[in-house]
Subunit: 350 residues, 2 copies
């Protein structure tokens, strides 16, 4: 079965507006160029080598992947500058990481000594040198460590044979982190440890990057498509969101209760303001609940609710988690399908 | 790479305790047998033909699938009694549904005239007769319709050449729905329309099935594995939950803030009591936030928090959405891996 226009697709289907995507790619690169920062798109948003290739062609320095298995897919597709901003733990994973270092210019981040030692052992066994950045804990309080401990880890890396200290990583790189970053950089400077890369990241990183002049690169994923989260955070607007999920109304027996064929298997379960997605054709509707295959829409505020069989388009709350649910997504111009992409790095949990 | 024991697996990995699964399958079948009701397992929970085969061997009458594409996978695997309790809309989907009716004893549910007419047109074009049940709206207020409208739809089906009225479907089949069910059955009886099947369903359906003696069959999915949702609803207990997600602690720089390598891509984003999963080894821990590859655990109530590199096991909030995220899941006895299952019907959104 060939798909020529969006009308040929069954629903739910994930559509990417190519004009908007290309504009988003160009705009992000231009902003980084203006700031004199390298752009390193995070591929977790699209998981598709062809889209990453367009980002590289626009000027990106390389890519970021969150998993060794994702990096393997992109290395096999010819990408040679790959960062994995994640603590890689476990003998098999670090072994695969070390093999990857033979194929690509690889860097990885760490926030503790056991993680460093595990990677070092694998690098030694494989006879490679792995570029290693230390993660500084940010206001998000996820992974990362303190300035003092970062210095200790940087020293440990510098003294470890098969590792090379490559710099500092922050996520998210809000401007408020600057005092902690400056403290870390001063400690490293005093210890005589040179810092090549200061890598920032997060959906909103670009809007505060001018307040963090120490950054040398930015890792951002969502900016290629954008989503409702990013609209709510005022990073963009709905009319710049390149991803929409095409859905069908499968039940509409009461005007206030309309059910879509798109639930948590199609649009995931993240919410914003108690809603699971924004319905473009019915801005007053509230997609307030999902089961796997059902989206519950309260249409009581809609002048005229949709009918059974009607097609609607949903802007997702979080684009990255949607891509991961679909085997294929579709690049469109107007109604015409120009690209049928396999989501090559989908579902890679290792 | 061969996996012999769970220690050979990288994390996150979905483990199914085979002893518990087999016990769950036997128990559910025995309960249905005791009630004199046919059991029709919903495959959305596991999406794996080999597990459905074990349910059939235990005595199940057939299976339920939520999508035509799922039904195609199971028909190809040799299943010949398949119900799709979903309004199938769209020329391609109804066409595929009609083709399936040539391969299997197929039934489908409807809640409106446009849905009936679409299926009828496809059945006519394919020269098949499709068993059609009318869905009665339940207290869950999802799909389904009222008793009066159900009668109207049943009449319409009975008068349509390529359809056969097969009965009434309810989800979820709580005992409180009985007055509405009895009203519907009385209307159908008065109209001289025989009702072959009264199909109930939902995780908790078995616990109230004795209060709905009109039911002829039960569709339940989660009972094969169970999950935290079902524990919270008192359908089961944690020690009967057959699915656990094996995870690694990737960061533990502060005793109260521990990060797992299992986030929304491994355990999904559904919550119960603000938590995304129950950590077996640390019952006092709270898995209170997820990103795609990170699970945030508050360990401040734990006597001694886990260390970096430590392995823990998570009982998911909702088992069905977890299966859908993984390409493979692993059947284990003790530490030994006995089954490596491809999740054959994973990610089938059409």
């Amino acid at each position: 079965m060939t798909f020529k226009t969006v009308r040929d697709l069954e629903t739910p289907s994930v559509l990417i507006d190519l004009d908007l995507m290309e504009r988003n790619i160009a705009l992000m690169q231009a902003r980084c160029d203006d700031l004199g920062i390298q752009f390193r798109p995070h591929i977790k948003t699209h998981k598709i080598p062809d889209i990453a290739r367009r980002q590289i062609e626009a000027g990106a320095v390389g890519i970021a992947c969150q998993k060794v298995s994702e990096a393997e897919v992109f290395a096999a597709a010819g990408f040679n500058d790959i960062q994995i901003p994640y603590n890689i733990i476990g003998r098999r994973k670090t072994g695969r990481l070390a093999q990857l270092a033979k194929q690509a210019d690889l860097s990885v981040t760490v926030d503790s000594k056991p993680v460093i030692d595990g990677i070092a052992a694998a690098a030694q066994a494989a006879g490679v040198k792995i570029n290693t950045l230390v993660e500084l804990v940010s206001l998000g309080e996820r992974t990362g460590t303190t300035p003092d401990h970062a210095l200790e880890l940087a020293r440990h890396i510098a003294l470890t044979d098969n590792l090379r200290f490559a710099g500092v990583m922050i996520y998210p790189s809000d401007a408020a982190i600057r005092p902690r970053l400056l403290e870390t950089l001063a400690l490293l400077d005093r210890a005589g440890i040179p810092v090549e890369t200061v890598s920032g990241g997060g959906s909103g990183a670009i809007s505060e990057a001018h307040l963090l002049p120490e950054l040398t690169e930015l890792r951002v994923g969502t900016c290629v498509f954008w989503d409702w989260n990013c609209v709510a955070a005022r990073y963009t607007s709905f009319d710049q969101c390149a991803m929409q999920v095409r859905a069908t109304v499968v039940s509409a027996n009461e005007p206030s209760r309309v059910i879509l064929d798109s639930g948590s298997k199609a649009i995931h379960s993240e919410t914003i303001d108690g809603q699971f997605g924004f319905i473009v054709e019915y801005p007053a509707a509230r997609l307030h609940k999902v089961n796997e295959e059902h989206g519950y829409v309260d249409c009581s505020a809609c002048p005229s609710p949709p009918a059974v069989g009607e097609i609607v388009h949903i802007i997702p709350v979080h684009t990255c988690v949607v891509t991961n649910l679909h085997n294929q997504i579709y690049g469109i111009r107007g109604e015409r399908i120009e690209e049928i992409w396999d989501v090559a790095a989908r579902g890679l949990v290792w």
